[in-house]
């Protein structure tokens, strides 16, 4: 009788111990999953990482962008970039504000039908030193195709020291000569290599444009360049 009672007590203790262990393990697993979900939630909204005044400034910039019909995704991405690079909230807010202004100027120069990618690329070109008139020249030279790639090349040339006016003129000329996006990208690579080798940026750009003009194409199998299309009115 006593032995039976002892066995039952031991069994009950073992079951209680196992159940407690199981609960602890499951609790740990749930806590870890909740922590991961919490971290994911933070990563999903970078504004949560900003202090209150900076967040208010960024939200104001977002409201302005929406009111102007500008894309908000690049703004949120810029906040995430600043947070990831360890920038302070006030600095992030200032950079975001400048970005909204640049996108608004880019749309004014490129036209209301511009795509989001064109707007962001145009804003980048403006921030790199190009003028709104340079953007208009690129748009006028490429009215029916996406201007994203030419604007990216324009911003890159400006960043490498090519005077913005010369860079805009070179890109517009290349487009008028019939350069494709891929050819623009290759010319940009060639100019960057020349500059890295010590050729003055403006001279390197002028040289490569003249070479392209003489050959008509970087691709030997490609027919000569066609005259530029008239701009859409």
């Amino acid at each position: 009788m006593r032995a039976t009672f002892t066995r039952r007590v031991r069994g009950a203790c073992s079951a209680a111990l196992s159940f407690t262990l199981l609960l602890l393990l499951l609790g740990g697993l749930l806590a870890r999953t909740a922590a991961a979900q919490g971290a994911q939630g933070t990563a999903d909204d970078p504004l949560d990482r900003l202090d209150a005044p900076s967040r208010a400034s960024v939200e104001q910039a977002l409201d302005s962008a929406r009111a102007l019909g500008l894309p908000s995704a690049p703004i949120v991405a810029k906040v995430a970039e600043g947070v990831s690079k360890g920038a302070g909230g006030s600095r992030i807010a200032r950079v975001v504000g400048e970005m909204v202004v640049s996108m608004a100027r880019a749309r004014e120069a490129l036209g209301p039908a511009s795509t989001d990618a064109e707007l962001v690329a145009g804003a980048g070109a403006l921030q790199a030193g190009a003028s709104p008139d340079a953007l208009r020249r690129v748009r006028a030279a490429q009215p029916r195709r996406s201007a994203t790639q030419p604007l990216v090349v324009l911003a890159d040339l400006a960043r490498r020291g090519v005077p913005a006016r010369d860079a805009a003129g070179a890109v517009a000329r290349l487009i008028q000569l019939g350069a494709s996006d891929a050819e623009l990208a290759r010319l940009r690579t060639d100019i960057a290599r020349d500059v890295a080798d010590g050729v003055p940026p403006a001279a390197a750009t002028s040289l490569r444009v003249e070479q392209f003009s003489a050959r008509g194409s970087l691709d030997p199998s490609r027919p000569p360049a066609l005259p530029p299309e008239p701009p859409i009115k």
């Binding site: 069994g11 073992s14 079951a15 111990l17 196992s18 262990l21 199981l22 393990l25 499951l26 697993l29 999953t33 990563a43 999903d44 970078p46 690049p74 991405a77 810029k78 995430a80 970039e81 600043g82 947070v83 990831s84 690079k85 920038a87 600095r91 200032r94 950079v95 400048e98 989001d116 990618a117 962001v120 690329a121 980048g124 070109a125 921030q127 790199a128 996406s146 994203t148 790639q149 990216v152 090349v153 911003a155 890159d156 960043r159 490498r160 996006d181 891929a182 050819e183 623009l184 990208a185 290759r186 940009r188 690579t189 290599r193």
Partner: protein, 236 residues
């Protein structure tokens, strides 16, 4: 010998005990164990009682009957660990599948590739292959040649960051290709313009030396730009 007559009626008392059983118990306590009539009466009473009604089939009763399980502590701990393991596999296995989704799309479905200028860049840069169809996303391969970034110092880990992964420095690790002597990774991207950079050993942010430079980022570092064209999926 018992003289009192045995009550073999079915009228049970409050406990449900038939009167004959109660009488037999009292008689036996008094030393009447040899009374064969008492035994016979009890047996007759027991046989005469109607068996309890079995409303469910035997197989169902066996399945639903309560059982007592005996487990050693070690076996119980093993069972608990197995349950937790199954749950963990289910939770983290699903997450891993989602994270790996873009890599599944590597390679053109129809065997075509779109070669673009950065593929010929001497230092690597972003080399691109695309499905070439009007698919919503295109596979873009990012390449960082080691000599151009390490400046003589060893780099043990490189990750890709950009506006396509929320600038998360842990989201897109690159793998070292010993044959090409370059760090590589592929990302599935819709058409558009993307800004990106490389993070070396979790500390140093560098732009792609073979790609177009993005404008000043405003935070003191340089970024690169990749354009994924909508028509062909080519990236420049």
């Amino acid at each position: 010998m018992r003289e009192e007559p045995w009550d073999v009626s079915d009228e049970a008392d409050e406990d449900g005990t038939p009167p004959v059983v109660r009488q037999a118990a009292a008689h036996l306590r008094r030393g009447g164990a040899s009374d064969e009539r008492a035994v016979a009466a009890v047996m007759a009473a027991v046989r005469g009682r109607r068996a309890p009604r079995r409303s469910r089939p035997a197989s169902w009763r066996r399945l639903t009957a309560a059982r007592t399980w005996h487990l050693s502590p070690l076996a119980a701990a093993g069972l608990a660990a197995s349950l937790v393991g199954v749950g963990a596999l289910g939770a983290f296995g699903l997450r891993g599948g989602v994270d790996r989704a873009p890599a599944v799309a590597v390679g053109p479905a129809d065997g075509r590739t779109v070669d673009t200028a950065p593929q010929t860049a001497p230092t690597g840069g972003p080399a691109f292959a695309s499905q070439g169809d009007p698919a919503p996303t295109h596979v873009v391969r990012f390449v960082l040649a080691a000599p151009s970034v390490s400046s003589g110092s060893a780099v043990s880990r490189v990750t890709l960051v950009g506006d396509f992964n929320g600038w998360n420095a842990e989201a897109t690790p690159m793998r070292w290709d010993a044959a090409a002597r370059a760090w590589m990774t592929v990302v599935a991207l819709p058409a558009g313009r993307y800004v990106y950079a490389f993070v070396l050993d979790g500390r140093r942010w560098v732009a792609d030396p073979a790609a177009p430079l993005a404008p000043e980022d405003g935070f003191g570092a340089s970024n690169s730009v990749v354009v994924v064209a909508p028509a062909t999926g080519g990236a420049t």
